[in-house]
Amino acid sequence: MSRWSRICAVRDIPALGARTVTFGAIRVAVFRTADDKIFALRDRCPHKGGPLSQGIVHGEHVTCPLHGWVIGLRDGLAVAPDLGCTARYEVRVDDGEVWIDFTQPARSTAAVASCTHAP
């Protein structure tokens, strides 16, 4: 079985917006930037668990709707001075279709040092 799951078309996600998708017990937020890059993060702010999918997307960041933490879409890391990170998932876009690898949270060198990705 392929580890990639098909989620939706790029156009199903509003530009500078997000949609959610659940995988098992985990809710994942799928973001689309102004230039149509797609990112996937666990839909849980490292601060107090706020739903990042509901935040305002700007550049390659999202601002959590609960207390305004800013999380990087590329690495899942909170922007300084806040500290924390949320799990991110590999995304592939093929022919306008969005695919996500839910099998394991992706690791980025920057993120590994400061947090664990245990869901």
């Binding site: 998708v21 668990g49 509901q54 709707p65």
Partner: protein, 809 residues
């Protein structure tokens, strides 16, 4: 490609801050070399006085240690004084022969203490008070000798005297002028200060001229000879008679100087490759010796060095605090008054409290405070921003605290708080956390403290406390925000400039506004996007296109997000009047969707809490009631009492009036939430006195009050107009709110809007100008009459994607 070379001469606070800012903007742009004449790396010069007084140590006041420079790849030459600047070869040479070539040069050579041309000035034991070395020498002298004379009763002189006294010396301060700190204090405040320093055992000789410094056989100072009187015994003499910009290097290179290295508003000197910041600079004819202006300069210089090319330094209003533990003193602006200025003075000599406010043309232009300077920050803000204080005048003297901040009564002195006590109730930040962050992160400004600790970043009512903690921890004259605050970090422009540009350039989208005003970020941030979206929509109704992605989730989902990610639903209940049928529908919805909490709100409505987002459209469909906009920066409720229909005291039908107002104004978006109330008689059961617009019935008609607020700071609404008919109530209230919609800043409540523009202005536009009022009211109706009910739209299928999850296949 080889990097450009930036050479920095001087390693004090100004250059340190410029480098920090520059590295934030452009970490890899330059190959950087720094020369510092002192042996220590960048340290906090303001805190030398607490070091002298034995309250801190030198190692505690280091801002950036040697490792910091290494980490950023900066070549640091300590103990290395630059003696030659060759502008043609673009090269500096130090005393020990170190050579550095530059593409850009930053001069931050600081200032030099003034040395009086007195006989004996070269004797051992005669020092100035300027740097860490001087501080060390004073500490050392205090351990060996018993008598000290400080020449100069200014800020530095008094701090030196206090420190030496604390270290056990007998200290006499010799001052030429008739009172202490004459450049910051008036005579009354200075006398109180002198009394309390005398109580600590410091002796003062005022209007005393030093004639000579006398030495012993070993060449060490032994006394100070005044123009009249006996010689004063002294084994240590501290000259603290002022500083002057250190322009030696610049002048030797024939760079234009005039009591400082002359710079323009971008901190560039007359040689375009050379920038200068800090105390060595003369900007618009002024040289600054306080840290706040230096930091503002640093920010501008860094911006230009980073080749961003935006930002101007337009000068600063300095403020001063004396860093002597236990003495609370604050001075800012033109504190002397005179020449048409008015003064408000509070003087309680027995309690040791003195306050003076100087007002000119209804604006605060200066203030001096002694004994109780807790409100200094607030006054300084009024002063810097040029706020019209005519309305505040009766309470002005009693300070910010007097304005009734919820939860902080009697808690106005940060010094008296323990580390465990909570400062910021909104974000649960205690004093110890703030102190720790300031020390460990090297914070200097309120903005930085907010960013790192979140303290005072929400409601702001503890701002004064946080500023006090900042002052006592980081040093006295901490940096104050620049006069005109930009909308957010994405731009230099203020709310006012952004609003004006959108109007003048006919900009119809937030994106167009960002392009026109050269936003630094590709699509703004969570702060500016909602503001811009509101500005274009309110300026160009029916023309501008709404951008849902620029709205906070509540306004996008048309419900209030809760801490667990569910939402709350508040249907509109006109004037707080409902019916059995509506209540039955609400009850059925609660059962059907298993809504866990049903709550009566303060605005006479019903709140259904814990609704799943995907259920929202169905809940709205089944409720079959209009949106209550309880989630929006818009008209919320119109609270009413029962009025003359039932009440034995009621003189008008307040319920009907309230419903008419709510029907006329609902769907009205505004800079912030808007709440109304209508009471049927002056007993005012609808609590109209704390609403954005409050209407109170009287026998002969209606009284209208505006700009009340029941939030963090309870603000009583102010009388606005008396009218005869219900139609007039609608027109006056609508016109006032339209004025607020057109000219208010995003997230500014009516109380702050009116405080900013003045109640008289609002009255002139609405009450005094009949045509203008009608035009305002018409524009309001034009803007909101075809605004749809967002719930109905979504029941009909609009924005379905907002409420549906995706499914993986």
């Amino acid at each position: 490609m080889q990097k450009q070379r930036l050479v920095v001469v001087g390693n004090g606070m100004a250059s340190g801050r410029t480098l920090e800012e520059l590295l934030k903007y452009a970490p890899d742009l330059y190959d950087i070399t720094v020369f510092g004449a002192e042996p220590l790396p960048n340290y906090n010069r303001i805190l030398l006085s607490p070091v002298l007084a034995g309250e801190q140590t030198l190692s505690e006041i280091i801002l950036n240690d040697v490792l910091w420079y290494e980490r950023h790849g900066i070549r640091l030459h300590l103990n290395t004084k630059v003696v030659r600047l060759d502008r043609t070869a673009r090269r500096v040479v130090s005393e020990d022969g170190t050579v550095a070539d530059y593409d850009r040069l930053l001069l931050a050579t600081g200032s030099k203490p003034v040395i009086l041309p007195l006989p004996g000035r070269e004797l051992e034991g005669v020092i100035t008070y300027r740097d860490a070395q001087d501080t060390r020498r004073m500490i050392e002298a205090a351990s060996r000798f018993s008598d000290a004379v400080v020449i100069g009763g200014g800020l530095l002189g008094l701090e030196a005297a206090n420190g030496l006294k604390a270290r056990g010396m007998r200290v006499t301060v010799v001052h030429l002028m008739p009172w202490l700190m004459e450049r910051q204090l008036d005579r009354a405040a200075a006398q109180l200060l002198q009394q309390s320093l005398e109580a600590r055992g410091i002796r003062f000789l005022l209007e005393a001229r030093t004639q000579a410094i006398l030495g012993d056989a070993d060449g060490r100072v032994c006394a100070v000879q005044l123009a009249d009187g006996e010689p004063l015994p002294a084994q240590l003499v501290v000259m603290a008679v002022g500083i002057r910009p250190n322009t030696e290097l610049a002048e030797s290179a024939r760079l234009h100087c005039n009591r400082g290295i002359v710079v323009n508003d971008t901190m560039q000197t007359f040689d375009p490759r050379i920038y200068a910041v800090g105390e060595c600079v003369s900007h618009r004819g002024v040289a600054y010796g306080l840290v706040a202006p230096l930091f503002e300069m640093a920010k501008v210089a860094a911006n230009h060095l980073a080749q961003y090319g935006i930002g101007r330094y337009c000068g600063s209003v300095p403020s001063t605090r004396l860093k002597v533990t236990g003495i609370d003193l604050f001075s800012a602006g033109d504190f002397q008054g005179g020449g048409g200025a008015e003064e408000i003075v509070l003087s309680d000599a027995a309690a040791g409290v003195y306050k003076k406010l100087v007002i000119r043309d209804d604006k605060l232009v200066g203030s001096v405070m002694y004994g109780d300077a807790a409100d200094g920050a607030w006054y300084f803000k009024l002063l810097r921003e040029g706020t019209n204080v005519a309305q505040l005048r009766p309470q002005l003297m009693f300070g910010d605290r007097n304005l009734g901040v919820a939860g902080y009564q009697g808690r106005e002195r940060a010094a008296a708080m323990t580390d465990a006590m909570e400062v910021c109730g909104c974000n649960g930040v205690c004093k110890g956390t703030i102190v720790k962050a300031i020390k460990e992160q090297g914070l200097f400004t309120l903005e930085e403290v907010r960013k790192y600790t979140k303290a005072s970043s929400s409601c702001g009512s503890c701002t004064g406390l946080v500023e006090q903690i900042l002052m006592s921890t980081a040093g006295g004259d901490y940096s104050a925000a620049p006069k005109a605050k930009p909308l957010c970090d994405c731009t230099e422009h203020t709310h006012e400039e952004v609003r004006r540009t959108i109007r003048e350039q006919h900009l119809l989208s937030g994106a167009a506004a960002m392009t026109m005003m050269a936003w630094r970020t590709p699509n703004g941030c969570a702060k500016c996007r909602p503001a811009l979206n509101y500005y274009v929509l309110s300026t160009w109704p029916r023309e501008a296109q709404d951008d849902p992605q620029s709205r906070f989730i509540n306004e996008r989902a048309h419900a209030n997000i809760q801490k667990n990610g569910t939402f709350s639903v508040v249907p509109r209940i006109w004037g707080g009047s409902t019916s059995a049928a509506e209540l039955r529908r609400i009850a059925d919805v609660v059962d059907k969707y298993q809504i866990p909490t049903v709550k009566i709100t303060g605005g006479q409505r019903i709140d259904l809490l814990g609704v799943r987002k995907e259920d929202l459209p169905a809940v709205w469909r089944d409720l079959d009631m209009p949106s209550g906009h309880a989630y929006a920066k818009a008209l919320r409720t119109v609270k009413t009492c029962v009025g003359s229909e039932w009440c034995r005291f009621g003189v008008q039908d307040s319920t009907r009036m309230g419903i008419e107002l709510e029907r006329a104004l609902w769907r009205m978006y505004a800079p912030h939430k808007v709440k109304l109330a209508v009471s049927g008689c002056p007993r005012n059961c609808a609590e109209a006195g704390i609403k954005d617009v409050g209407v109170i019935a009287v026998e002969s008609g209606w009284e209208i009050y505006v700009a009340g607020n029941g939030g963090i700071k309870t603000e009583v609404a102010q009388f606005f107009a008396k009218v005869d008919s219900r139609e007039e109530v609608l027109e006056y209230a609508g016109a006032f709110l339209q004025l607020y919609r057109e000219e208010g800043y995003y997230l500014e409540r009516t109380v702050h809007f009116v405080a900013r523009v003045g109640l008289d202005y609002c009255k002139a536009r609405v009450v005094g100008d009949r045509e203008g009022r009608k035009a305002l009211y018409e524009r309001l109706q034009f803007a909101i009459s075809d605004e749809p009910d967002p719930w109905k739209q979504r029941v009909d299928g609009i924005a379905r994607h907002e409420f549906e999850s995706l499914r993986a296949t």
